[in-house]
């Protein structure tokens, strides 16, 4: 069977149904254990004090803010090339998750920035590109809501998604591109010298896994909802 057959709405509803509760369960376990571990059982950082505990929310949310847009880009390209309706609906379903992740990253970053940098906000390359990414998410959702014809909406939002991908990429690599501003480089790296200390790294990885699985669970749940909405519209047109 071809991989594309899994994108058939009926097949998609079939194979995703049993996965969703498991994904929510795994995400809940990872997040509860990771956050309790990080909050209660890790020491303060010698420079940042207890604010280092914000890392368990800020870093996974920021990663998912960018990765959600990348997922939307892939789904949009599949829509533009192969016209699979489920891929367009998956991109639409992912946008509110991405905007929430971006908002968490911006809010926790501002709260963390005040005691460390002395300001909630600075027009730093990474902060600014994240704010623009947040605005792109809002624009993407507004465009879906503004157009009645679903295929036209999928076409135009896919183009917007491709344009916004520049800022998703900038958000990730802004620190490296400009090498200036207040924000530090990546917290996780394959280079052990650049990585956060093991005592913070282990619960952080668990939280990142929790955020990723939560994203999968939410995208599947919301895509199933969008497919059902499309079916309701089709039934109403028949009457």
């Amino acid at each position: 069977m071809s991989l594309w057959e899994y994108a058939n709405p009926r097949k998609f509803m079939g194979w995703t149904g049993p996965i969703v509760p498991w994904a929510f369960g795994i995400a809940a376990v990872c997040l509860v254990v990771g956050l309790i571990w990080g909050f209660f059982f890790t020491p303060d950082d010698f420079r940042q004090g207890s604010t280092v505990k914000i890392i368990y929310l800020h870093v996974p949310a920021a990663m998912m803010a960018i990765n959600t847009w990348v997922m939307m880009l892939v789904a949009s390209l599949i829509w533009l090339v192969r016209r699979h309706h489920v891929s367009a609906l998956a991109a639409k379903a992912a946008a509110p998750i991405g905007v929430t992740m971006t908002l968490i990253a911006l809010a926790t970053g501002a709260i963390w920035g005040q005691p460390m940098w002395g300001t909630y906000w600075a027009w730093d390359p990474r902060l600014t590109s994240f704010l623009i990414l947040f605005l792109f998410y809002l624009g993407y959702m507004a465009l879906w809501a503004a157009i009645d014809d679903p295929d036209t909406a999928a076409d135009l939002t896919s183009v917007l998604c491709m344009v916004g991908s520049v800022f998703a990429l900038l958000s990730r690599y802004a620190v490296n591109f400009w090498n200036q501003g207040l924000h530090q480089g990546a917290s996780l790296s394959l280079d052990k010298e650049e990585n956060v200390s093991d005592v913070f790294w282990q619960p952080l990885v668990l939280c990142i896994v929790g955020f990723i699985v939560l994203f999968v669970a939410l995208v599947l749940l919301r895509t199933r909802t969008e497919i059902r909405l499309r079916r309701i519209t089709a039934l109403e047109r028949r009457v």
């Binding site: 929430t100 926790t108 749940l221 199933r224 059902r228 309701i232």
Partner: protein, 46 residues
């Protein structure tokens, strides 16, 4: 409760805002899922 020192407000508010947003997203997604599922069942059954 761990000793958060002078940054207790910052740490607790970061956790409160994040968990509120995450729970809101999950809650809204779940409520919409239940409503749409019920609406489709009604539409299909007459």
């Amino acid at each position: 409760m761990p000793e958060l020192g002078k940054y207790a407000t910052e740490v607790l508010s970061a956790y409160a805002i994040s968990l509120l947003l995450l729970c809101g997203l999950i809650g809204i997604s779940w409520i919409k899922h239940r409503r749409v599922k019920a609406a489709l069942e009604r539409a299909e059954n007459g």
